[in-house]
Symmetry: C2
Subunit: 224 residues, 2 copies
DNA sequence: AATAATATTGAACAATGTTCAAAATAATAA
DNA sequence: TTATTATTTTGAACATTGTTCAATATTATT
């Protein structure tokens, strides 16, 4: 009967799992809960129940639920980065087409992993800035795939200029996607009149954004 | 001693305030609390204490704290709209300069009313879609000032095209501002190297965005 | 003056994050 | 082997939160 998790009278120091295993267990359970029931239903008690531990145990691994959220976000960002990089590496298509495919990947990701993706932006990052520099590095990485594409197609241009453009372009696409996902862009929804509606409208808008911005890169007068 | 709010034994049906007055009282108090202590510290009990009522009273006026948030957001959007409209109506400056001034107003607003502005994007809008169509109208209004400027300077172009461009441009600016305010844009912060840092960097980026997009409007090949 | 309507309360409920002393077990030393 | 130390895990508690609702005191009406 020793180390049997079903035996609730056997208390303390079960040591079924190392700290690292426990961390994975907790994050896996948390991920499941958010995937099934949304991010508002992620609680310490819920995680505990799911892995056969008590809420307090979670605080042995994470100092607070907020930090746990940061680690969930880390997983989300890793997945997003992988997806973007895969898309950026494909060898076919024109410049604009590649840019659109990257944006398209971002759209799909925001749909497919909506609650996780939303949490990226609702988690307060202030505490994170103090102790978790790895977090900011993961953020920066998200901008890289676009930067790579721009470098490839704008050879010869100033590196700083390219960096600025990729940052601006990415933030712009993000702005459109964000307002779309959160439903704060009625422009993209109203099916009335000659407007397209929903995702199609978003894709059209993003195509136009990319087309216009790329044309502007050659035509504009000022630089960074 | 009748109707004296200090007399706590005088209970029920004080009728010091009409429902409408109470609504204003509650929202005023809520606004103060958020302004001083941030939006996380906005609680039904806190509001009640501040106006000399009990938490339950708030539920006579608002069906839930979430709806109260929507009404706070309404105030925020009204103020933002006023500010943007004022800026858009000024008669001086070139096209690009006017666009930048509008964006600049948005930046200032997001700084000055940060917690209120943030709440606009953290409040879940789903419930609102059911019963509060006035809310979506307030959102739509935010896009109008930019639309007005574009119409003014792009006379002769297709109205639908202009609407699309103003929507895209506004969302793009918003994307940049949002990532800046929430601290998720390390590009705008790293003071290292030759990058500008902080607000100056944001302004530079937005200037470049506007410049590039406007140049692109004339140079691009596809339209909506 | 009696009755109906209603604004307001106070107390409760369930759920949350979080803390921490106590307990049980593993690791180590004697 | 036995005793001691160190560590993991618990369970119970605390403070807050949103929210509900019967009871009550006041106003309005008949």
């Amino acid at each position: 009967m020793i180390n049997d998790r079903k035996d609730l009278s056997a208390v303390a120091r079960r040591n079924d799992h190392s700290r690292e295993e426990l961390k994975e267990l907790i994050l896996d359970a948390a991920w499941d809960i958010v995937a099934v029931n949304g991010s508002e239903s992620l609680t310490a008690r819920g995680i505990g129940k799911k892995i056969g531990y008590v809420p307090g145990t979670i605080y042995n691994i994470f100092p607070s639920m907020e930090v746990l959220h940061l680690h969930l976000n880390a997983r989300t960002m890793d997945m997003l980065f992988e997806k973007l990089e895969k898309t950026a590496c494909k060898k076919n298509g024109t410049f604009e087409e590649k840019l659109f495919q990257l944006a398209s990947s971002y759209i799909r990701f925001s749909e497919q992993y909506q609650p996780f993706w939303m949490t990226l932006f609702t988690t307060d990052i202030q505490e994170c800035k103090k102790n978790h520099s790895w977090y900011e590095e993961k953020i920066e990485r998200i901008f890289e795939p676009l930067n790579t594409i721009l470098k490839q197609y704008l050879r010869g241009k100033d590196a700083r200029q390219i960096e600025a453009d990729s940052y601006i372009l990415w933030s712009s696409v993000h702005g459109l996607v964000y307002l779309w996902v959160t439903g704060k862009a009625s422009y993209l929804e109203a099916g009335q009149g000659q407007r397209r509606s929903g995702k199609k409208a978003l894709e059209t808008a993003i195509r136009l954004l990319i087309s216009t911005y790329v044309a502007g890169i050659s035509a504009r007068k000022i630089t960074v």
